[in-house]
Symmetry: C2
Subunit: 105 residues, 2 copies
Amino acid sequence: MSDARTAPEPGDFDLQKVLEALVDPVRRSILAQLDAAGEDLRCGLVDIPVSKSTATHHFKVLREAGLIRQYYVGTARMSGLRRAEVEEAFPGLLDIVIPRHATVP
Amino acid sequence: MSDARTAPEPGDFDLQKVLEALVDPVRRSILAQLDAAGEDLRCGLVDIPVSKSTATHHFKVLREAGLIRQYYVGTARMSGLRRAEVEEAFPGLLDIVIPRHATVP
DNA sequence: CCATAAGTACGATCGCTGTCAAACTACGAA
DNA sequence: TTCGTAGTTTGACAGCGATCGTACTTATGG
């Protein structure tokens, strides 16, 4: 289920998995960056202080929780926030969990 | 800080601590039961499948995250959901995280 | 005053998860 | 074809957190 190349099926969110995904600050940072970008990003363009393999792990957790979608473009792995789907399943959650107004001067 | 007998200071919620508190199903169950009760409960009246010492631990985590208040009445330790404060800090979060339509037996 | 009840504190255990390095695969360019 | 880039897989390891039993504290009731 939820193969590396497929986006997760919409609608079947598991609250437990979602919370487990959100509890890690690195993963919330990924979500925040995807959100701020406004478009899908290559993994490599997301700035997180961990190794490549750890990054792969975090993206996998987010994908399996249904929070992001992923697909390949050549050798690049694109990731995008599933904002609408998440918002529908858990209204308000993203606003709580993602630091958006953090206008760092 | 946040002594065993005092309720946590209002307003200073730490998102990380809140999420860590919410990620455990036992703790979400506690919140759900406090919410359903509509009034403060003795620890002993909250039904969770763990030992007394583990229960104490869970209540402590919830209190330090600011999600519940606790105080003594004789030897009984009363706990109550800080619904208003949590709702103000994280609008919608409790509705997402607490199974309310689930008629918990 | 003593016994019981309600929680707390303290170690100890144990599984899970975040982490990394190294080896591997897949694609694109030269 | 060969090389380099992008990401995955696979093990291994370390630390954290959920759990428990036992001992302790404190208040209520007889």
